[in-house]
């Protein structure tokens, strides 16, 4: 009996929202047929500032930030939610700060001026595979191949109002894979969290900082490793190194990745895959020893 009550309530609530949605949608449709379904709560939404822009009110933005960050905490594979968290928490201040960091740097300014986009269309992946082994392009494509991802999976920025800042966010997002290549951190949860911590220290974007909380969902050994090795590395290198957003990756593809790291003042972290492999082997050996009865 007791267990049934909340269930009924939930059903009732669901029915209510359904009702509400349909009711509002009717008015919405009658007032402006062009506005999409998601906008039902605001009748007078301003014109988008750039193609794909979705203007949000402050409450909507706060709701999006809280909802998307909580959901992505529980399901870190929802990269759309992580992206939405990033956009909803980037204003005020943070994305402007990052934009200003680009404006203060000659290369950053050039990037903002040319607004290059990174995709499999703008980058020839087969050509990158033929680059020397230690080049930035080869490291990048090697990383893409190893992790089985493509540069085209990055979604467009929608919730940042300033169109230049929207590009900055887009650029950060598209360069994320280059940061993996630069640091050599894998896309397993542990590597992703370490890289996010590095990005937070370097870009100050709140989403990257929030991602550090995902360390709580890691295994104990991973968490200890993160706290003792990767977090200190991330903070030291992220804060001391130059702004990685100001690297014109498209122009640096043929450069030596170690030289680029030295130029940015970033030291390579201990290879996470190696450590993980070693630990796995150690565990296996222990297991074997146990099985043999020692």
């Amino acid at each position: 009996m007791e267990a049934a009550i909340p269930r009924i309530r939930a059903v009732a609530a669901a029915g209510q929202t359904q009702l509400l949605r349909s009711a509002v949608c009717a008015t919405c449709a009658s007032s402006s047929s062009s506005s999409s379904r998601r906008h039902f709560s605001v009748f007078n939404r301003p014109q988008p500032n750039y193609p794909g822009h979705v203007p949000l009110t402050k409450i909507e933005r706060a709701g999006l930030a809280v909802g998307a960050s909580v959901m992505s905490f529980f399901d870190p594979y929802r990269h759309d939610l992580i992206a939405a968290t990033g956009e909803a928490t980037a204003t005020p201040y943070f994305i402007y700060r990052l934009r200003d960091a680009m404006l203060a740097d000659p290369t950053g300014r050039r990037i903002l001026r040319q607004r290059p986009l990174i995709s499999s269309k703008t980058l020839s992946l087969p050509a990158l595979r033929n680059l020397p082994a230690n080049s930035v392009g080869r490291a990048y494509v090697g990383w893409l191949d190893r992790e089985g991802v493509s540069p085209d999976t990055r979604s467009r920025v929608r919730y940042i109002d300033d169109e230049e800042c929207a590009y900055v966010m887009q650029r950060y997002r598209e360069c994320h894979d280059f940061y993996h290549a630069l640091t050599g951190l894998p896309i397993v949860r542990e590597g992703e969290v370490a890289l996010k911590a590095f990005e937070f220290a370097n870009t100050l974007l709140p989403m990257t900082g929030l991602s550090i909380f995902a360390a709580a969902t890691m295994k104990r050994g991973e968490r200890q490793r993160f706290a003792s090795i990767y977090l200190p590395w991330a903070i030291r290198n992220g804060a001391r190194g130059k702004d990685v957003i100001n690297v014109f990756w498209e122009e640096r593809l043929e450069d030596d990745v170690d030289e680029l790291r030295a130029e940015l003042g970033i030291e390579r972290p201990p290879d996470m895959r190696d450590i993980r492999k070693r630990e796995r082997e150690q565990k296996k050996r222990l297991q074997e020893l146990k099985e043999r009865g020692f």
Partner: protein, 487 residues
């Protein structure tokens, strides 16, 4: 004594050339004859010195004093100042209505080229980091359209004063002449000049002064002679000046001119209206940035000025690091910067050739304005940051006060050179100037802060002052020297 001196005064003036001839035959060292004894010797023929002599000559009470002016530059060039109306000198000053009123009282205002003076009625001041803004326009209490200040070329001012002095006559002018030495005189059988300053000139003459006026600028030799110290500091900033042409007569049109000032972290930049589509620029910035500004091509310099009123501090910082290409950068950045065109000055389209110059900014305040037979006025007494346009007006205030003090001394038969007679001048001006110096200094320091809690706080403060009418009026009245005296 004084009466006799005044009687002697006039013939002395007429026989100036004869006197000089006589002098050249005499030995140089302190061969002060009676003809070289003056009631007032003013060193420095800038706005302060000329105003003081004009005020003394124009007043019937003091016009009997025998006065001399010593100036290192050629004053005939100053008095023949004539530029076509399409060109403006780069050294301009803001005259408050009180100063203009004083110049009118002494009869000098009518001698200035009125068509080259621009009155303005509105002022827009804003923070370059937060865009917090304060607007000053004609005081609501006295109706709209009240003049806040007059922009005048310094040369127009000095030339007008010189013309008035020529009209009044009675001043022995030693121009193209430097002060070689100032020392106390000697006691002879004829007279005792042991407590009188004797000014030795590069032309060989030496003038004894009952009252020696130091209107000789920030590095005042008169102040050095009298052993008056001065304290203060250099701002490590230069003021870059230039004469500019705008795209139009200003947003308020020909009859409602607006002055603009934006506080950038390196210092304020001000665009002050001149007649027609002309404007005067004063941009305080670091010496390195000033050097870059002066090295730019005209089109890039124009772009820099436009950028300084429009773009973010980050963009401006970058534009100061490249030797060229500012014009192109500006046209790109304006696309991504939200500007309400009417809140910034109209676009600059031209810079008058050869007018981009700079001078170091400093704060100095003499320890006292008076000594035995010495009084300091204008920049010799105080040097101020130009952000509130108070420098020249402080000097005019000094002149007004000193002229009044001398008038009182003359009409009461006192010795005009004694500290006792001069005391009212010092007591009236010193604290008043000190407050203005302090306020401008603090404003500079407040707006030099680039980040931290002070930035939002100062913006809240500025907005609050802007919203509080009576408080704003109080500041405005203080700045235009119309208000009730603080001290």
């Amino acid at each position: 004594m004084l009466a006799r001196r005044s009687l002697l005064g006039k013939p002395g003036f007429i026989c100036r050339s004869c006197v000089r001839q006589c002098q050249s035959q005499l030995t140089r060292a302190y061969s002060t004859s009676k003809d070289n004894i003056y009631d007032v010797v003013c060193v420095g023929g800038g706005p302060a010195g000329l105003s003081l002599l004009t005020a003394l000559r124009a007043n019937p009470v003091t016009s009997g004093l025998r006065v001399a002016l010593i100036e290192a530059q050629d004053l005939s060039k100053v008095s023949s100042f004539a530029l076509p109306i399409t060109q403006f000198s780069n050294r301009c000053s803001s005259l408050t209505p009180a100063s203009a009123q004083f110049l009118d009282t002494i009869g000098a205002w009518t001698h200035m080229k009125r068509e080259r003076i621009q009155d303005y009625h509105e002022m827009q001041v804003w923070d370059g980091l937060t865009d917090a803004r304060i607007e000053f326009d004609g005081q609501p209490s006295s109706g709209a359209g009240k003049t806040l200040a007059y922009m005048i070329e310094n040369l127009n001012l000095t030339s007008g004063l010189l013309k008035r002095l020529e009209e009044l006559g009675g001043v022995d002018i030693f121009d193209n002449t430097k002060v070689q030495n100032i020392d106390l005189g000697k006691e002879t059988e004829e007279m005792d000049l042991s407590e009188w300053p004797i000014v030795e000139l590069s032309g060989g003459q030496s003038l004894a002064a009952r009252l020696l006026i130091g209107a000789d600028g920030a590095n005042s030799p008169v102040r050095a002679f009298s052993g008056i110290g001065s304290s203060g500091w250099d701002y490590g900033r230069h003021g870059v000046v230039a004469s500019l042409q705008l795209e139009g007569d200003g947003w308020g049109g020909e009859f409602n001119k607006i002055a603009y000032q934006r506080f950038l972290p390196t210092g304020p930049i001000a665009m002050l209206p001149l007649p027609g589509n002309h404007a005067s620029l004063v941009w305080s910035t670091t010496p390195e940035k000033a050097a870059l500004l002066k090295s730019l091509s005209p089109k890039d310099f124009i772009a820099m000025v436009n950028a300084a009123f429009r773009l973010s501090a980050v963009d401006l910082g970058y534009l100061h690091t490249v030797p060229e290409g500012q014009e192109e950068e500006l046209s790109w950045r304006t696309q991504h910067t939200h500007i309400n065109a009417e809140t910034v000055p109209q676009t600059v389209v031209g810079v008058q050739e050869g007018t981009v110059a700079s001078f170091p900014l400093k704060l100095r305040h003499a320890d006292t304005y008076i000594g035995e037979r010495v009084a300091l006025i204008g920049d010799a007494a105080h040097t101020i940051h130009p952000l509130a346009g108070q420098g020249l007006n402080q000097g005019q205030g000094d002149v007004q006060s000193l002229a009044k003090t001398i008038e009182y001394a003359v009409s009461h038969g006192q010795d005009i050179g004694s500290t006792l007679s001069l005391e009212p001048y010092s007591s009236e001006r010193y604290a008043a100037n000190h407050i203005i110096l302090g306020v401008c200094d603090k404003l500079h320091k407040l707006y030099a802060v680039e980040s931290g809690p002070l930035v939002p706080l100062r913006s809240i403060g500025l907005k609050a002052v802007n919203a509080l009418g009576p408080l704003k009026n109080f500041f405005m009245e203080q700045a235009s020297a119309n208000g009730s005296k603080l001290l």
